[in-house]
Amino acid sequence: MKLTVNGQEREVDVEDDMPLLWVLRDELGITGPKYGCGIAQCGACTVHVDGVAVRSCQLRAGDVEGDVTTIEGLGTPETLHAVQAAWIEHQVAQCGYCQPGQMMQAASFLDLNDDPDDEDIDRAMSSNLCRCGTYPRIREAVKTAARNLRNA
């Protein structure tokens, strides 16, 4: 089957029910999306399909309709997305393993609401689990990213 990932068309030979996460990681070698739980509880696998955050561990490869963007496609070290720039500015990451998912979630959420209050942030970001406890910095980074997106 054909998939468009980070702007490139890719051909893969996989079962329809293989989760997109494992197609990305093991078949295409795109390891930014992380495996954490496999049951949509942690959000580490979050990618965008046509700009909307989805849990790639729950999306069957055969059901992918739209362009897939992973953290690698959101921005690069040279061309950072506003969310990534804010994550770096606030030094959010500890182990960093959940952060690709956190940033993909934040980018998609800020695309819909670039002036969120604390409650909006709590609601949007609580489906992504962080075991190191970087939440206070995630909150700050989301606010900084929102501000920079509004002023862009």
């Binding site: 739980c37 690698e72 182990c95 959940c98 962080c130 075991r131 970087t134």
Partner: protein, 746 residues
């Protein structure tokens, strides 16, 4: 061996050894220098300055032997070297280096010796020295116990300083300018005429130089990097999805494996039927392993699916099948025959308890999984000549030895490549995954085999935090705490963990009383007793180890007695505290939280204190009792660490520790039913999510004379501070974790 320079108070030496075409500077132990791990891979023209600094044509590499689990230790270790070496962090490569006995962890042993970390008497120092000897003998290159900073603080800076001075000597010899005319900056030696000789071009010259001697460490007042906010070197990679964790590692020709072991930990595999699995797409092989089965496939997901399809006949668990049996075992352990240690016995507790009304309470904490977000994985390639292991581990030396034993290979032919870790919290102090990968890879020699645990496999086979129970008694008199008697029963963490490495540790297990017996309070009649319960489910070190349970027990009992005395919770703790740096921590958290001011209706403030890993930490939690449940509004933390080496990382680790402590106390437990952990994924074991996270204010104090690590100490006071705050807000005492069994949280 050339010259060596001794570091005061520590037994290590920075020395040099001449080799063909170069020189290496190493950390030596005792009189016998261990093999320098860098020499084996040193190429012609490449000079290695200590096992911590390597300079070649490619540039400067700093070797940071403690594993980065997310605590930022690669950056902090690199900064300690770079500070003295006069080099910027963006000019260096950071490499965890190969396993070597030269990288033993001296600081870890301090926590294993039966002396308070506030005690610097000769006896205390010599006991630590004894344990230190043992640790060195074992060659423990272990990451743990919040020791990376204390362990590296002198060694790494001295390595940088010796390398710098030797490079200057090389520059003097090359340029003819006297050493005292030379300066260093930006990775180069600067000559008086304004020209520079880079470290890279000096490296071959330095290889022929005598080791600089009489090198002294810079005064902290001159620091460029340390003590100031640092940019972690991995932050950009971690923020752009470019960092390769163990689970992301790919080796050419690699195949993917999954395992399923008896979910009753340590139980046998009696038989299995893999006929369905063998027919599944991508499956190459089914391999029986110790206590279970493995599948090799061409993709991780296919391996997971196939191993699930194997039907197994499992034997029973070697521990009680249900929780009643575990709690009963603990309840029956408060007896003389199970006495492990009574390391605190001040005054006459029995006599004091005979006078006045005796307060009594029982406290319980459950098993807890580590559940770091990155599931465990390893890659192993076995050939006739060598074995390569790629994995994130806190115990690379144990891994190397165990793999050598399993494969019959000489230790020097086992190459352990330590990879980035997506969280550990103690999880990676175990090496089961490597052993299983070796078992599987032995059946496919020449092919790299990557074993990844499913989340369910990871949680079912986590070696959890100890289950523990405490019984407290006490009396009060004239508004003060008069007698305090705490007994703690738990199985031995060290026994269980070291047992899996084939080691038996004689004597009492310091973890049974850590965080309880060594608290700096002058109570007239004060006794703390540890009881070693029989082995139950296998357990392991979990962020803050013994103190994770004992800090809760000790402080909750103290809070209840202070309440019974009618005293103020903070003022009475301050009055009882004899240790000045600890008292300052309590005073600081009082000032930060505005302790004593009106907290408002339906609200409560709780304070707790715990000295663990030598770090006095006090926390104040503020809660509101809403109609829907308890909301944690704010947490204030003050901790005494001697020196804050990186303020950003310090802040991040303290907040993370508080969230870890609160989240598990509120929401988490591992329970066994029919011998199996009932919580197998995050839906049943969440820790804390963002909506529950309070605002956290952090202050690091620098009144102590020793530098301390901060990964673990913020954890123990969090749970009791929350319990005490809930009591203040609601009048309800919670004596058992998780608290959500007794009260709702919003």
């Amino acid at each position: 061996m050339g010259r060596a320079t001794t570091i005061a108070r520590r037994t290590f030496l920075i020395g040099s050894a001449a080799i063909a075409g170069g020189v290496a500077f190493g950390t030596y132990m005792y009189r016998r220098p261990p093999a320098n791990p860098l020499l084996a891979n040193l190429e012609e023209g490449e000079a290695a300055f200590t096992p911590y600094v390597k300079i070649d044509a490619e540039g400067v590499t700093l070797i940071t032997p403690r594993t980065d689990l997310g605590q930022g230790t690669y950056s902090v270790q690199a900064a300690m070297i770079a500070e003295e070496l006069d080099i910027e962090l963006d000019q260096v490569q950071v490499d965890p280096g190969p396993p070597s006995p030269a990288y033993y962890n001296t600081a870890l042993s301090e926590e294993s010796a039966p002396f308070r970390s506030t005690d610097e008497s000769f006896a205390a120092e010599s006991a630590r020295g004894f344990v230190d000897m043992l640790m060195k003998f074992l060659g423990m290159q272990v990451t743990g116990g919040s020791t990376s900073v204390p362990d590296g603080y002198e060694k790494l800076r001295m390595a940088g300083a010796v390398a710098r001075e030797t490079l200057k000597a090389a520059a003097a010899s090359k340029s003819g300018v006297a050493v005292d005319q030379l300066k260093t900056a930006n990775g180069a030696v600067q000559l008086p005429d304004g020209s520079e000789l880079t470290y890279v071009e000096l490296a071959p010259v330095a290889a022929g130089m005598e080791l600089a001697s009489g090198v002294t460490l810079r005064d902290p007042g001159e620091w460029r990097l340390l003590g100031k906010p640092m940019r972690r070197h991995d932050m950009v990679a971690k923020s752009t999805g470019r960092l390769t964790y163990g689970i992301d590692m790919k080796i050419d020709g690699m195949v993917h494996a999954a395992v399923k072991r008896n979910p009753r930990q340590g139980g046998a595999l009696k038989g299995f039927d893999a006929s369905a699995a063998e027919k599944m797409r991508g499956v190459m092989k089914v391999v029986p392993i110790k206590g279970g089965v493995g599948v090799i496939a061409d993709n991780s997901w296919r391996a997971f699916q196939a191993v699930e399809a194997i039907e197994c006949d499992w034997g029973p668990a070697p521990y009680p099948a249900n929780m009643d049996g575990h709690w009963e075992t603990l309840a029956n352990s408060f007896v003389d025959e199970r006495l492990d240690a009574r390391t605190r016995d001040d005054g006459d507790v029995e006599a004091a308890l005979r006078q006045g009304e005796v307060f009594e309470a029982e406290y319980r904490v459950p098993y807890l999984a580590h559940a770091p977000l990155e599931p465990i994985s390893a890659i192993v390639k076995v050939t006739e000549e060598r074995v390569d292991v790629w994995t994130g581990t806190q115990i690379p030396r144990f891994v190397q030895n165990n793999v050598a034993t399993m494969t019959g290979m000489d230790v020097e032919n086992v190459h352990v490549h330590v990879l980035y870790v997506g969280g550990s919290f103690g999880h990676r102090l175990e090496d089961d995954v490597v052993r299983q990968t070796v078992e599987i890879a032995m059946t496919m020699k020449g092919t790299p085999v990557k074993l990844t645990y499913s989340r369910e496999e990871d949680m079912l086979h986590d070696y959890p935090r100890q289950i523990a129970m405490a019984r407290g008694r006490g009396t009060v008199k004239d508004g003060k705490v008069e007698a305090y008697d705490l007994g703690i029963a738990m199985p031995s963490v060290i026994g269980s963990q070291m047992g899996r490495q084939g080691l038996s540790v004689p004597g009492p297990d310091p973890a049974i009383l850590a965080g309880a017996w060594e608290q700096p309070f002058a109570i007239a009649n004060y006794r703390v007793t540890g009881y070693r319960a029989p082995e139950l489910a296998p357990i392991s070190s979990w962020r803050s180890v013994g103190a994770s349970s004992n800090g809760f027990f000790h402080d909750c009992l103290l809070d209840e007695l202070i309440h019974a005395a009618g005293a103020d919770p903070l003022e009475e703790r301050i009055r009882l505290c004899w240790h000045e740096p600890s008292r300052k921590v309590l005073e600081a958290v009082g000032e930060m939280s505005g302790w004593g001011s009106d907290v408002g209706a339906n609200r409560g403030r709780g304070v707790a204190f715990c000295m663990s890993f030598g770090v006095a930490t006090a926390e104040v939690v503020e809660v509101t009792a809403t109609d829907a449940g308890i909301r944690i509004d704010k947490v204030y933390v003050a901790a005494e660490v001697g020196k804050v080496v990186d303020p950003v990382n310090f802040d991040n680790l303290v907040k993370g520790g508080v969230i870890w402590g609160l989240g598990h106390a509120m929401n988490c437990e591992i329970t066994y039913a029919d011998g199996m952990a009932e919580q197998t994924n995050y839906h049943a074991y969440e820790g804390m999510r963002l909506y529950q996270c309070p605002e956290i204010e952090v202050r690091g104090l620098e009144n102590g004379d020793k530098i301390r690590g901060i990964g673990e100490p913020p954890v123990p006071p969090a749970a009791p501070a929350l319990a005490n705050a809930i009591f203040a807000a609601t009048g309800k005492r919670i004596r058992e974790m998780p608290f959500n069994k007794h009260i709702d949280f919003v």
